[in-house]
Amino acid sequence: MNRLLKIIFFGLFIKPLVTIGLGLNIVGRKNLPMKGPAILAANHNSHLDTLVLMSMYPLSIIHKIRPVAAADYFLSNKFVAWFSLKIIGIIPLDRSGKTKREMLFSSCHKALDNDQILLIFPEGTRGKPEQISRLKKGIYYLIKDRNDTQVTPVVMHGLGRSLPRGEALFVPFNCDVIIGEKIKHCATFKEFFEIMAKKYVELINCCITRHDED
């Protein structure tokens, strides 16, 4: 039932909205992992980010794409919680720091064990429009002990213009989705983040809706 609702929601609303209301300039589509376990690590500027990333997948496997999202934000009210958990299929993550690290990612590991694809926003929050903030460490602890899972970096640009944080008016703009190659396993946290940061800069330079003056 929920899967049907999900297919209706994405097929009838989100996919048309993303293709007509927005319009994507996709670069590196072949790098998009189609099979789990896998992780997409994207920058985060708008609520649309999640929907755009999910809309790139065919409806037949859309239930396997699981955005990891802040529990304090998305479970705060009953309707939003139902919608986020059942229709979008988020994996709630406790940002408060009260949960122990081993327990924190248990549902993420479960999803990866089931060959699902996680969407993670390593910045942890949407931040200022069209700027990339510092990356948080969580993603590294998640993949550290998993040999079966690799991280695919994704940079999106332009969505912060269509629907920035705190604005209700949607304005159509094309946006860039640049998908990079998978990142090899790294021994240390520092190495991983250096590579991620470098990849992000590389991918940003492929954007056509971005300008140095911004």
Binding site: G23, L24, N25, I26, V27, P129, G158, R161, P164, E167, L169, V171, P172, F173, N174, C175, I208, T209, H211, E213, D214
Partner: protein
């Protein structure tokens, strides 16, 4: 579905025939050099098939469908343009109004209200957009933003809406019907692009504006110019209310204007340091990459026709 006037039907069949030739040639070339990668050429021709299929179905379906279709193209073109130019975050609310101008402009087109159609964007929107910007109150970068948003509206809404107005003009050439003029404009504009390419590839030596578009040569331009004049003379009386002599001028006008539109959009892309304005049409790039010449040919051809015949 309406009955298709004979001359327009022949024109459509000719275009389909040309596409069959292009596809066959592509297959033959591929067979000769099986090692070379022709993916882009293949994509380009496939996209042509799809564009022609959509356009023809819309044209033969209904006048209203044609007006709505070009309104939608205006939307895509405006969105693409505003996405690639630098813009302040505070301008999104103004841009929202620029989008709203699309249904209004195409409503005038559908009503056939010529007076409003020609001044709505150049006068009313021109005055309204900076007014809306003042209400937001961000003065840093004001002039530039006002210029960019109005320029975008002129290119994507005003210029392109002339194609749709052609279809609501009263029919003067009964054998071609209302769609004949649209077919003439679109075919001649695209044919001009092809001719410039072919003449330029085979004879091209002297560059016209190397700073903007290094591939454009005098030989390509003049070859296409001559071809289009002759073509215009013979095709115009079949598809439009124009005579043979008027058709010669129309051909030259479309060739010259098409060249200018092409290089103007090239200059925009060069300024922004991008190659394509989008990736909507595989093998072609974005919608502006495909419609660059049309932005200039549509209003000029329209007013030439309007002055002489209406």
């Amino acid at each position: 579905m309406n009955f298709i006037p004979p001359h327009s039907l022949y024109a459509m069949l000719t275009v389909l025939g040309l596409l069959v030739v292009a596809s066959t040639l592509r297959l033959l070339i591929q067979k000769r050099n099986p090692t070379k990668d022709y993916t882009e050429l293949k994509q380009r021709i496939q996209s042509w098939w799809i564009m022609v299929a959509i356009l023809f179905s819309v044209l033969i379906f209904q006048k209203l469908a044609t007006v709505l279709f070009f309104g939608f193209l205006s939307f895509l073109a405006l969105k693409e343009f505003l996405s690639i130019v630098p813009m302040r975050q505070s301008d999104r609310k103004v841009v929202f109004w620029a989008y709203l101008a699309i249904p209004i402009q195409y409503y005038w087109v559908w009503q056939g209200w010529y007076g409003m159609f020609v001044i709505f964007i150049p006068v009313y929107m021109f005055l309204f957009l900076p007014f809306r910007m003042v209400l937001i109150g961000e003065t840093k970068g004001f002039i530039k933003a006002a210029g960019v948003i109005h320029w975008a509206s002129m290119i994507a809404i005003f210029c392109l809406s002339h194609i749709a107005y052609l279809i609501v003009l009263p029919v003067k050439n009964r054998d071609a019907g209302s769609i004949g003029v649209v077919l003439f404009l679109l075919f001649m504009t695209q044919f001009n692009d092809v001719c410039q390419y072919v003449w330029g590839k085979s004879l091209g030596k002297h560059k016209i504006i190397p700073k903007v578009s290094p591939n454009k040569t005098w030989e390509g331009f003049l070859g296409a110019f001559a071809t289009l004049i002759i073509c215009g003379g013979f095709v115009a009386p079949l598809l439009t209310p124009l005579s043979f002599q008027q058709g010669l001028v129309a051909g030259g006008l479309i060739s010259g204007a098409g060249f200018v539109g092409d290089v103007v959009i090239s200059a925009v892309k060069r300024d922004l340091k991008i190659k394509n304005s989008g990736s909507l049409i595989p093998g072609h790039g974005g919608i502006l990459d495909r419609m660059d010449s049309l932005i200039f040919t549509s209003p000029l051809f329209f007013h030439f026709l309007y002055y002489l015949v209406y």
